[in-house]
Symmetry: C2
Subunit: 300 residues, 2 copies
């Protein structure tokens, strides 16, 4: 923990977690705090978002002072603290923000608007802030940005705006198939085989419609040929990401925003397609995006 | 229950259930019995397959007589009563059978071999018997046969043999996505909207790689446009079956074997593609397939 004074707080408040960073006036991280009190736990537990936030950041507050808090994510959803209406793409990401009502005078909370797309219908809450952060960190970036996760997003950026985007349930499908389907008997726990992963990528690129057949084949190869559990797990990951890339058809400038464990397979797959992706750490992108809104909301 | 004497017993013994039919000498169903003691419950509960079978069919046995029982399904798997080795496609379905060891002299149990395919690796246990039944009910059938289910199979038949086959985890993926993914909030329970189902079929046929994006779009359309839960459920079913049909590309003579609730969506989808499929009831197919083996095993 640094001894710099705390000027504002960045809050990444998603479905499952609340992650806060105490920030200095020049946007360096002074301290971190995290809890499992995401939107879902709070909304099913009575809905007191303010209490959950104050409990986590109590040590950063000073008597008689009001600290600005810039927040993004599902905290702005219908089941969140306040429902912040979506802005409609094409649009600049990460603005506007809405003020959440508080009982305490020690905090002033702004929540980012999510982004909607009308046709094809799609939504994001939180990723728009990371995209705003990417544009702050790499001014003028134009091209495709991928945000791997439970629901992976791909957005096309031009003129400083999200022009369009598309969500894939790739991470969730991997979790369901690896933990709850017949494949759970075949796949090893967390482990990695890059060759098998790339096999999956190329099989799905060649015939994306065969995904659920290629998936069963892992079980059959395990029964008949003793396919290794690590290879099976990695190939399933490649099949799912390969199907996604067959739909997105990435080209040109590509950035990936995320934690290393999530972005690495995508980076490997893109390299196999001859595309060198720029990596942006997800915390850095979130903070940079929240900082943009913090600056614009208090005129700083 | 008919009063005909019982000549033999047909046993469809899968992962989750044991279904037995008492059969007359001319292959009519005299009586039925069913239990939840499938391969999985028995193998995790000590493995006494004989006791589970005797308990269910006790009332059909006669002192001093030995009744032939013809069985198919996972009862012949490694975790089953005895492991019956697969035969390798191309092959005639439903033969050979292996005798299971019994303590009781009142039963004589033959278990059908499953079918394997080496490349692409694939396996079936139980469906080969239904395919043998189809060939018994419709002698000379050549073409494609679909067996919708948790793991849907498509087999190409010619010269009375399974030439090749392919398994899709379509039913299991539907169950996981509708019950355990974020879509559980969007989908209505059991309900049907044929227009929405066909929309899903056509979307997947047009761009099968977009499956997991089209699936998320159901959630987005529900949030943004109030998409109805019945339409969402039916479109998801169409998306999954449509992706499967995009891979199989059915043409020519097509038969579907299964219970009505499973075959109806496939039939609807095939009709939209201009293909009129012949329906075969799954119980009728299983019994006809087991009858073939019963006849060949006792020389009848």
């Amino acid at each position: 923990m640094s001894t710099d004074p705390i000027a504002w707080i960045a809050a990444d408040w998603g479905t499952s977690n609340l992650r806060c960073c105490a920030m200095s006036a020049d946007h360096r991280v002074v301290d971190r705090a995290e809890s499992g009190r995401g939107m879902q736990a709070i909304s099913t537990g009575g809905g007191d978002f303010e209490a959950a936030l104050l409990e986590l950041i109590q040590r950063w507050l000073r008597p008689g002072e009001t600290i600005p808090i810039s927040a993004c994510g599902m905290v702005g959803a219908k089941q969140g603290w306040i429902e912040v209406p979506y802005v409609t793409a094409p649009c600049s990401p990460g603005t506007p923000t809405h003020r959440a009502p508080t009982r305490s005078a020690q905090i002033s909370v702004s929540i980012h608007a999510g982004v909607r797309q009308n046709d094809p219908a799609d939504v994001m809450r939180g990723e728009e802030t990371q995209i705003a952060g990417l544009l702050a960190l790499q001014p003028g970036f134009e091209g495709l940005v991928g945000l791997p996760g439970t629901h992976t997003k791909w957005a096309t950026l031009a003129d400083g705006k999200i022009q369009s985007f598309q969500t894939f349930m790739t991470g969730e499908a991997f979790a369901l198939l690896s933990q709850h389907s017949v494949l759970r008997l075949t796949l090893a726990p967390e482990s990695w085989d890059e060759t098998a992963f790339l096999e999956g990528i190329h099989r799905s690129l060649a015939s994306p419609a065969d995904l659920l057949s290629h998936a069963f084949r892992l079980r059959a190869e395990s029964l008949l040929n003793g396919l290794d559990g690590t290879a099976a797990r990695s190939r399933l990951s490649g099949l799912l990401i390969g199907q996604e890339l067959a739909a997105v058809r990435p080209s040109g400038h590509v950035s990936l925003i995320g934690a290393g464990a999530l972005t690495r397979p995508y980076q490997t797959a893109l390299e196999a397609l001859g595309i060198k992706a720029t990596l942006v750490d997800s915390e850095a992108a979130t903070i940079a995006g929240l900082a943009v809104a913090h600056l614009s909301s208090d005129g700083g």
